[in-house]
Symmetry: C2
Subunit: 359 residues, 2 copies
Amino acid sequence: MSERIGPGGTVGILGAGQLGRMLAIAAARMGLKARLYAPEADPPAADVAPVIRGDWDDADALRRFAASVDVVTLEFENVPVAAVETLAPLVSVRPGARALAVAQDRLDEKQFLNAAGVGTAGFAPVDDADSLRAALAALGLPAILKTRRMGYDGKGQARIDRPDQAEAALAAMDGQPAILEAVALFAREISVVAARGADGGFAAYDPAENIHRGGILRRSAAPAAIDAETAARAQGIARAILDALDYVGVMGVELFHMPDGRLLANEIAPRVHNTGHWTIEACAVDQFAQHVRAVCLWPLGDPARHADAVMENLIGDEALGWARIAAEPGAALHLYGKAEARPGRKMGHVTRLSPLGKG
Amino acid sequence: MSERIGPGGTVGILGAGQLGRMLAIAAARMGLKARLYAPEADPPAADVAPVIRGDWDDADALRRFAASVDVVTLEFENVPVAAVETLAPLVSVRPGARALAVAQDRLDEKQFLNAAGVGTAGFAPVDDADSLRAALAALGLPAILKTRRMGYDGKGQARIDRPDQAEAALAAMDGQPAILEAVALFAREISVVAARGADGGFAAYDPAENIHRGGILRRSAAPAAIDAETAARAQGIARAILDALDYVGVMGVELFHMPDGRLLANEIAPRVHNTGHWTIEACAVDQFAQHVRAVCLWPLGDPARHADAVMENLIGDEALGWARIAAEPGAALHLYGKAEARPGRKMGHVTRLSPLGKG
């Protein structure tokens, strides 16, 4: 199970959203086939590769999927760990269950990060009103209460700015185990999209600077407005995280750059990352090709950036403006083939390049 | 039949080789679906989009194909004109039968070019020994005898350097109508990959400089080593050709740059072109996306080049060196998913970028 998967081989992908779609395209450009697994009917990736439809707990379907591919990876960090454990005896799964488990639980994630020597904002587990009270006393305000599991794009989160908001925040957790996180009053949000090979090789793209609104990424710019020492430190943090997980593939590591210069890890995503979409246009080997390289045991590609880049997400109705963006000189428009433009739904993105150092 | 085809629409493509594969990928990145039509079992594009299998003279299959797509284009200039004529009453075909017919017959092509005011090397029709003798007397040596139809990648051609080679050259035509072309003693071969919209809009990429061996493209470099006036003249020739055909889509125009500065048209290909593959990495909107834009009546994209680029084809066994190329910093490797590396077969390509003006 540790042989390089060459041209003609098949990459299995768990999940079939836009990240799976872009991974499948990257695999195709490398002469590989892609095959995806997802519970949904007609997901975005179905336009570009076969999708096996199955539930995450359908062991028979998962086993059939394993038998039809040469390696399995994932585009969705909330794939149940049990599904990966069903697959793992049959086919290499990269990254494996450990990275997935850590990324799926905010408390485990923060504890893992601290144990790996990576600083985070303060946090404390919250299971009830008593533990919330204790956590608020320890961390102070403002703070954010989040469910430990299955949070993404700002869902399952409640900000607490004043003590009288604590009760409603706890109610919003709907009885699920939660974590209180101190709000980091950061100077900027940055992220490192980095790859690690099975041989321990490491390649990080330049850190991007990100803007979120309502918990959803709006914009990533590369390079971030940070000095070279800070950029190197951010990449070093990513390397420590990937090494500690014996990780194989691309990961997105979100960091807060604090006014005093510290870098605090916010969260990790064991997959290709929205803040790395700019690499499609700005790098010879983009994050999708890089991830496929890593999981197929190819040499990692050069992460050098040949242009400055700004990526903006097209969310919900914003995608209706596609024709205007298509007419804009220098804009690289990507649409994900989603029929319905629901509010908050990522429908596409646009990347604009400028010459190195003039962004 | 003249409405813009927006995201969610389906682009039909005649032919399903590597150009169809790359067109289908470009369509997917724009949120469009692709569906291809080809006679072969399991062609390269089948990894990335559905392929309807049918012969070029299977009118029923062609009609079913027409009913399943919103527009038809082509990746292969030798699609029989009759197939396009079957489709045309049912669905818009861009580019249409005229461009195809002109490109399929070397004599018609040269006559069309001259009529459009575009210079070519000398030529004369050859149907038998008498007409060959007359053509040789008129054009002199060296010259190349070519079948009028279905020539590509150096097939159906015989070079005549000495009078005693004429008889064998004629025999090599196998009784097919032929054309004798004077050998242009060019300083360099260049090409312009250009797009024209249905509204007459025009966008040309920078001319590339090409090296062929054995009639097969080996290498394209952008920019070509020509001055700005020559580049503009080359793009003007492309525009004259596309306008004269009322063309919609991307075309490749191959030109000889003569020692005296003249530009002579060699041949035109009414499709995306191997000498435009460098645009994938070096332009925000590459030739494949540009072609899809044109045939779907989207605004044409900006053809500006943000880097210098050199593309090399990987032919036959050269593709076996994929792992070495994958390990090379800055190399963007493309493989076409072809199982069998036959001699002369285009298996993939690699593009290397360098900063603008430093190539």
